[in-house]
Symmetry: C2
Subunit: 164 residues, 2 copies
Amino acid sequence: MRTFEDFTVETVLPLAPYDVTREAIVAFAAEFDPQPFHVDDEAAAATMLGGLAASGWHSCAMMMRMMFDGFLRDSTSQGSPGVDFVRWLKPVRPDDRLTGTATVLSARRSASRPALGIAKLRAEVANQRGETVMDSEYTLLLLTRDGIGQPSSGVVADATGGAV
Amino acid sequence: MRTFEDFTVETVLPLAPYDVTREAIVAFAAEFDPQPFHVDDEAAAATMLGGLAASGWHSCAMMMRMMFDGFLRDSTSQGSPGVDFVRWLKPVRPDDRLTGTATVLSARRSASRPALGIAKLRAEVANQRGETVMDSEYTLLLLTRDGIGQPSSGVVADATGGAV
């Protein structure tokens, strides 16, 4: 079980590889972001994206799965209060294979709740050509080793702007 | 057709209402973010979230749909190069009805490509109790009226950090 203590500054965590399919791009976009460049090849070819590309929110969702499979599955993660930024740098295309890393930028215990740790991570995602397609920073909350099994509810006053 | 010229500073745009279901929360999380508090009622009750809650990325995807239905469907949107921040302020629960607004914070023409406009929007989402559940700022690219029908491809050098 990975706990807050494992998220020391400069630790680099692997994101699990993720294979992008045309079907998944169109299905996600049809539900959440049906702009022409996310659902229609011909319309997409005539836009700045130059062809069908995943919704940026789909890319974020895929990155989340890559983090879950890469290092969150067996962790004391308590979720996130928010994201400092996301940059969609290159289109994510059908048949891309995404890989990436998350790097711990900072880590501290919550002042109001010492059994909880607050880590800031930078997550970068690249495609099979080595191009960075997405860059982001976000806050991750994790129980400390002492915090495992403790009743855990309520707001963390000093987590960046969030209730979780 | 809503073009860049319609996104003047302080314009407030409606987000379409969105009904959240338990099935959708669990389905999204099973695919992209299967942390216990997003997929399992009992496990979720024992966490800081105090019960099943949507993945933050699911909330973002729902917000995207609310923006699409609210004001992007008939627009010259060319997508977004990124997000300045997202704050997940309150859990999004099964049976929540989400509403919201997007406010234009700034709007300028691209220096490298005058037929393209770059707007910064703040999008806020609330639940049926009037609680703000999510706050965010992001950049939206839109063709100007002159830009409609112009061949549109290639990088916009001065859009915030992005290729689109």
